[in-house]
């Protein structure tokens, strides 16, 4: 198997998982796993109207490429692609996609899971939820104490 392909993008454009996986797939790859994270209409019991994602874009692209490369080193995959959207998103729109293609399904699932968990832990992106009642809040999924998460 040749060196795995890595794609990592931070973009304000709408995301398309099928398009990303089509770009990555080769005839050696029998398994494709695409994860898509979408804007839900509620969170922690509150009605969400829309979201805004803010990124430290230059760093986030590096970190996303690092995460994808780590997954490609750990698992026997042909390619790992990940993209995160920034700016304002409506309900139902995709905020993140992860596409992994691999000769076999076990590696594809595991690499996919690795990437999305790492994104949630350390991609420098922030989410501001705007609620149906007109208020808004910044979310953070883990404490920011100390050094690198």
């Amino acid at each position: 198997m040749s060196e795995p392909t890595i794609v990592a993008e931070i973009t304000t454009e709408p995301l398309d998982g099928g398009q990303l996986s089509a770009r990555l797939c080769t005839l050696e790859d029998g398994a494709v796993v695409v994860f898509e994270g979408r804007v839900r209409d509620s969170n922690a019991g509150r009605r969400v109207a829309r979201l805004r994602y803010e990124a430290y874009a230059e760093m986030a692209e590096r970190v996303l490429a690092e995460i994808a490369s780590e997954a490609a080193e750990r698992y026997a995959v042909g390619a790992v692609g990940a993209a995160h959207r920034t700016g304002s998103l409506e309900l139902g729109e995709a905020s993140v996609i992860v596409a992994v293609v691999a000769p076999h399904r076990e590696a594809a699932y595991e690499a996919s899971r690795y990437v999305i968990e790492a994104i949630k832990q350390r991609l420098p992106i922030w989410k501001e939820e705007h609620y149906a009642d007109g208020t808004s809040a910044w979310l953070g999924e883990q404490p920011a104490e100390g050094k690198a998460p």
Binding site: Y53, E54, Y56, A60, K120, W126, E128, A144, K147
Partner: protein, 100 residues
Amino acid sequence: MWDQTPQSPIGNSPSVAASTVAVRVLLFGVYRELAGRPELQIELPSGSSLAELVTELRALPGLERLPERPAVARNLKYASLSEILDPADEVALIPPVAGG
């Protein structure tokens, strides 16, 4: 513990010109809102650590609510607060991330 006055020229620094470091500090999300701005320029004595930079920042209006030990990045990489600042470093304060 440090102030922003340049170190005395008779200090330990071998080069007089390097007695302070100027760093660019980027603020995101809730930290940006606390500061009321996305970016600051801070001058610190040479040899200052990231922890010392954070102490300086927490003395600024609005940033009192910054955690004592926030996550930080130095030149696009997560960094330890014990790291010593280099001149022209780009430092970012990283609020709890919420990607995905």
